[in-house]
């Protein structure tokens, strides 16, 4: 999570970068994302998909070991 000093630096730096033409407003979100390294909803859902696939294949093994589908 972003700290207060980082927030202040960001607030000070971004307008200067925009004014100097180094950064456009659309790039602000990229900078904010750098400070908040949160995965996207799609990335999280992809991880859950992998968890489900792994769990399903492990369940098949467990069922074989318990005499089901053997």
């Amino acid at each position: 999570m972003i700290t207060i000093p980082q927030l202040l630096i960001l607030m000070q730096a971004l307008p200067a970068l925009i004014n100097a033409g180094i950064m456009v407003k659309d790039q602000i979100s990229s900078v904010i994302k750098m400070f908040f390294p949160t995965m996207t909803e799609d990335e999280l859902n992809a991880i859950v998909g992998i968890i489900i696939i792994n769990a399903e294949s492990r369940k098949i093994i467990a069922d074989r070991d318990s005499g089901v589908n053997n």
């Binding site: 971004l14 904010i32 949160t38 492990r58 069922d63 070991d65 318990s66």
Partner: protein, 157 residues
């Protein structure tokens, strides 16, 4: 003009922070389920290594590893009419089923919603498995540690 830009940036940052807080909760829930799943897989591998000579090619209710009978995996558990290996495997099956349900619930979950009960159900089955192993295989620390990791990885909100 300069202060308006500052205000705009502050609003952008604060609104972004609010949006990511919800996503961070989901991220925590998903990643904890992932860690738990990896630990549970590790626990299943340990049990299968104790039961089978070659766990990658063997499966079933009959253990082939001589160590299995030494540690009690082949003994029939009273009241269950099945061996400890089968009983543990059945519980692993329930745990992985519950994990699929927990994952499916997390797909649709938003941090503003009540925490999915399916995750709690999954946790209960891990506890059941841990109790079983602690009771019947008390000397197998590695197996117990993996199951404890699978349990502790889950944080219920």
């Amino acid at each position: 003009m300069f202060s308006k830009i500052k205000l705009l940036i502050a609003i952008l940052i604060i609104s972004s922070a609010c949006a990511t807080t919800g996503l961070k909760l989901k991220q925590q829930a998903v990643l904890s389920l992932q860690v738990s799943e990896t630990s549970l897989e590790g626990a299943q591998d340990i049990e299968r290594n104790l039961c089978f000579n070659n766990p990658s090619s063997e499966s079933g209710p009959i253990c082939t590893n001589p160590i299995a009978s030494t540690i009690g995996l082949t003994r029939v558990i009273s009241g269950q009419e099945v061996s400890l290996h089968v009983l543990i495997s059945r519980t692993f099956s329930k745990a992985f089923s519950a994990q699929v349900l927990a994952g499916t619930a997390l797909l649709a979950w938003r941090s503003s919603d009540p925490y999915p009960t399916a995750v709690n159900d999954y946790l209960k089955i891990i506890s059941e498995l841990l109790t079983l192993v602690t009771q019947y295989l008390p000397d197998h620390l590695a197996l117990r540690v993996k199951l404890e990791s699978a349990k502790e990885a889950i944080v219920i909100r």
